[in-house]
């Protein structure tokens, strides 16, 4: 259970970032597919995420939620690409994307395949800082890609996890 929580956190956490460009392959892939029919895509600049986080912090109560949202303020850029009811993404472009990611020093964290659903989570780390986080979810009729630039340290992740545990202990007692 603990391992599962940690995996989810690594896969879903929103992380602080500094200015840093998305990788070339991710950009190429994003540009290729963002104009397709049924595409939902958004590039969110850091300042907008920061404003959203500030607003959200006003309406949450727990320290854990506030600290998590504080991290959001440092997000520099996030790219999201989603297809619903139709997945036009070709396997060869996915292969090329992964080749490019590996070339850019991304490393696999987790891969899960269940029937026709595939989930990949990759990161790029530099000097004990997580610089990029990349999540890909694929099904025959659906597709989702989330790419973030970050400057998160393990200590910052630690802090949020410890807060989550504290909150959990408080709720249980």
């Amino acid at each position: 259970m603990k391992m599962y929580i940690l995996l989810l956190l690594c896969g879903l956490m929103i992380i602080p970032t500094e200015q840093s460009a998305q990788t070339k392959e991710i950009n190429k892939f994003y540009k290729k597919y963002k104009l397709k029919n049924n595409s939902h895509n958004v590039t969110i600049p850091g300042w907008l995420i920061g404003v959203g986080a500030d607003i959200a912090r006003l309406s949450v109560d727990t320290r854990e939620e506030k600290e998590s949202l504080k991290l959001l303020k440092k997000v520099n850029k996030m790219k999201i690409l989603v297809f619903e009811n139709d997945n036009p993404v070709k396997d060869k472009h996915i292969d090329k994307l992964f080749t490019g990611l590996k070339h850019d020093q991304f490393e696999d964290l987790v891969f899960v395949r269940d029937e026709e659903t595939r989930v990949n989570i990759l990161i790029r780390e530099d000097s004990d800082r997580i610089k990029n986080l990349f999540i890909l979810v694929r099904e025959p009729e659906e597709f989702a890609m989330v790419s973030m630039k970050t400057n998160m340290t393990i200590d910052q992740i630690n802090e949020v996890i410890n807060l989550m545990e504290e909150e959990l202990d408080t709720d249980l007692n």
Binding site: F98, D108, L109, F111, I161
Partner: protein, 162 residues
Amino acid sequence: MNMQAQQDAIDKYFKQYVEDENFTVVFISPKMFQLISKLDLNEVDNDPEAKMVMETVKDIRGLRVLTTDVDPMLRYKEAMQKINTNEYEVLVTVRDKGENVRIWVKESDNVIEELLLLVGAVDEFVMLSFVGNIDLDKISKLANNIDVKGAEHLNKVGTDQD
């Protein structure tokens, strides 16, 4: 998908299962274990079980799980025939209420590099491979924390069994 630096039995003998869509595949990379091992959680200081989990994780360099409910007993027999017994040594064999479990280890220079668990039951086939510097006592204590059919039998691999 980037494979573990250390090749495991699944890489060597069961690649076709990884590609087979009848199988559910879970891969936790060495990088993920490395990140987890760097965490300094408060809970670890207060909870012996959490401490034990984190100590075990430090030595693991990868985990792969394959499961299927399509022809599970056939897959089990197939898998048993593929394991190279010159490379892998049987540690535990269990047959209990229609569930067959076998645990192998691969050792090198007195270090257990891989632990391979195979489960063949009427409803499911499971293959689980840990790679790293495996401490059997630590893995055996982790048995009940792994939510995979048959993994509870890992509690038999410890050296301090009664």
